[in-house]
């Protein structure tokens, strides 16, 4: 799968929303959100519980249709070009979402096939990703025997496997930020604290720092 350079995807923004709204019956979960996130940046979406952060992420990751407004991710419309959006994003859901009945390696293998990574590249990509996340030694162990932190690392690995342009993390937990805070040459800087929140440092080593957008759309609970 070729990773497109920034010139291929239209528009200079990684994420752009105009009047993005989601209503459930009478309840308006997300009202008129306008965000513009340039490529190469880290963006944190903050708000108290129930503010609509997850709903916003679900709309941006094509899981939920907006009731009104538009959103473009990696240059593609989340409704009309959902398939392209899915090709270029990585997503780590709020819940622990690796398959517990498979090994770490198998989790990655299945997703490498879902993302159509060519057969010749699969093994190398999987091994690289596993070793980057420090999971090589437990690659053949069933995920049900992993610790919570290991599962989180595996999920990140899963979401990076296809070299996405935009990465979404829904409520990235502590354990992960510590792990990823390891210094490294391609690390992007920590993002600062915001209004009384504990600072969140999600730097990450990216294999192709120039061609990829490093965007962390993160949700942090208030009061951490």
């Amino acid at each position: 799968m070729p990773t497109p350079t920034s010139s291929e995807a239209s528009g200079p923004l990684a994420v752009e929303t105009v009047g993005l709204t989601r209503a459930y019956d009478t309840l308006i979960a997300v009202a008129d959100v306008n965000i513009s996130i340039p490529k190469g940046s880290v963006f944190g979406l903050l708000g108290p519980n129930g503010a609509g952060k997850t709903t916003t992420i679900k709309m941006l990751t094509t899981l939920l249709h907006p009731s009104q407004g538009q959103a473009r991710v990696a240059g593609f419309d989340v409704v009309r070009q959902a398939a392209q959006v899915r090709q270029y994003i990585g997503y780590v859901p709020q819940m622990l979402s690796a398959d517990a009945d498979l090994s770490g390696y198998e989790n990655l293998l299945i997703f490498s096939k879902l993302y159509r990574i060519p057969a010749g590249e699969r093994q190398q990509r999987i091994e690289e990703t596993l070793s980057f996340m420090g999971l090589s030694e437990v690659a053949r162990t069933l995920v049900r025997h992993y610790s919570g932190g290991m599962i989180r690392r595996l999920e990140i690995a899963q979401s990076l496997l296809h070299h996405p342009q935009v990465l979404f993390l829904d409520e990235p937990p502590w354990v992960l930020t510590r792990r990823l805070a390891m210094p490294s040459r391609n690390t992007c800087g920590p993002c600062g604290s915001a209004g009384g929140l504990r600072s969140f440092s999600p730097p990450i080593t990216w294999r192709r720092p120039r061609s990829c957008v490093r965007l962390w759309l993160s949700c942090i609970k208030a009061g951490w």
Partner: protein, 252 residues
Amino acid sequence: MGQTLAVAEAEVRKLRHDPVELLTRAIQPTLWLLVFGQVMSQLRGISSDGVSYRDFLAPGILAQSVMFIAIFYGISVIWERDSGVLYKYMVSPAPRWALVVGKALGSEVRSLTQASVIWILSALIGVHLRLELGAILGMLVLALLGSAIFVTLSLIIACLVKTRERFMGIGQLLTMPLFFASNAIYPISLMPAWLRVVAHINPLTYLVDGLRTLMLTGGSSAFGLGLDFAVLGLSTLLLVVIAARLYPTILT
């Protein structure tokens, strides 16, 4: 296609890690065949279309066990939704129909193992089986189609009811009527008129009918194999289309 196989592969790999389920699943049909079948074959009251009752029952139990496995399979999707795994599948570029067909294929592996166990068991207790390659292959295709129908039906129910508790309720509610309103354990000719109507719109009936033809040396089809395959094939197609439509709604 590769994406469909990837979804199925995940299921197969899970089974390989924990094959105990396959064994426990085989117990119930074994009891039907050995206990129910042996006792009922002493009765002379059931006119079993020219074959012994034991022979008559074997394809019915094979179809039943395929259906039982398939119809509860949808709960795994609810489980995957609750655990979050499904979100990642939905965010992947795999088309919805590929996810649905992949799930169905994954379940086919269970159904086919089950079918093989019952077939071997039937051979052991002296059911008069057709041993031609063509008939056996035809039987496998039928079992695959039958399983696909009930798996996709199960996925559709999962998308509609969304919770495990409700799903189990509906599953229980469906299996017995589907089983009893079919020709699985007695011929349709014994049924009251209203039940015959139900039996004729029940896909399980066509599965059993086809299996009886292809499995038994003395078996004869009430509807014709062509109709059996056509009904099962078209039902599968229709249900896949509906399931692919509904699949994303399970998340909301």
